[in-house]
Symmetry: C2
Subunit: 207 residues, 2 copies
């Protein structure tokens, strides 16, 4: 391939366009969209979200020390886009969309009922970087839509129809995966065993 | 939706499965796969990669203070999976796949010729978190495949056929985007103008 050179900027993706729920000091919830999120560590399970200082959600997370990452689907596209463009200081986005919330399990912040997977997070650190502050947070509880869990207790994330964001545009994922981690180096039997093991998650209780 | 509760773990995505190139003290290149990567800040443009301490690439990046994030495509799936499973300490992955490299523009580390977009990065900080260390790095130069740049100097990332990773499986993105950032709140003319502005990148020179 022949390349053109550009000055350094964020040409990166696909990233998940997630809806992050937060609460203020009185417990009032807000929701906003975050594309600048990623995994920071497997053990302990840590994620990052980058948030502009001026955001209401920055204020909320700084005060409460917690938030929820709600994965989004193609059906949630309009809500996801809107919540990244309108501030909770001006619009009650939860009322605007009639969003249904579910109470927190291990934290006070609620999650979105419509989201197939929600990650309850407790803040570990925050670092000022420039336009954004970077929050590193531990995932303390996962909530997973029951219909994504098959008879082998395997989570079929592909069936969720997750939304992806890349360079200013939204995309969908293929319904079927095109490979499983480790497939290129494993014999078929090993690969199948690893696949089963990987997808067997420890279920703790019903919500 | 009805949810099941699980203990906190990484159920997160889609993320980009990127190939990261590094060099050792003698300048010998290595390549490894990173799914735990994300954007940390827009201005300055900062990204994160989470790397296990025992990785050869951890050693390389710590010594050189730089690396390249190479976005991957569906055609690069096997290489991407393999480079996440095999260590550069045991296999010369670049020789193994006959990978063609391109010299660095602003740094010493080369990029992958086959990658549609490569981000040259200089390390800002590293933080120990547990199984992984988190590197925060500044994107100092972008290399973009010419055929992705249309006549309006707009980068058509959707045409790259980027690879996505989610919960142990690889997926492809839809070729056509299903929305543009801001579409839910803008009139058509405004949306088009914003779209144009957003996608006009400052081109600096030809490679």
């Amino acid at each position: 391939m022949t390349k053109e050179l550009f000055k350094g900027s964020i040409m990166f993706g696909p990233v998940p366009a997630v809806l992050v729920t937060t609460i203020d000091k009185e417990g009032k919830p807000n929701v906003f969209t975050v594309g600048w999120t990623g995994v920071a560590c497997t053990h302990p399970p840590l994620v990052t979200i980058a948030v502009r200082k001026e955001r209401l959600s920055h204020e909320n997370i700084s005060a409460s020390g917690e938030f929820v990452i709600n994965l989004t689907t193609r059906e949630m596209l309009k809500m996801t886009d809107f919540c990244g463009c309108r501030s909770g200081r001006k619009v009650d986005k939860i009322k605007h969309f009639g969003i249904e919330l579910e109470p927190g399990a291990d934290i006070k912040t609620p999650s979105l009922k419509k989201s197939p997977v929600a990650l309850e997070c407790k803040v570990r650190s925050v670092t000022e970087l420039g336009s954004h502050d970077l929050f590193v947070a531990e995932i303390v509880r996962n909530k997973v839509e029951k219909t994504l869990i098959d008879q082998n207790n395997t989570i079929q994330m592909g069936q969720a129809g997750l939304l992806a964001y890349c360079h200013g545009e939204y995309f969908t994922l293929s319904r079927q995966p095109i490979g499983t981690f480790g497939y290129s180096v494993a014999r078929k039997s090993v690969r199948q065993a690893r696949h089963q093991k990987k997808f067997q998650q420890k279920k703790v209780k019903k919500s």
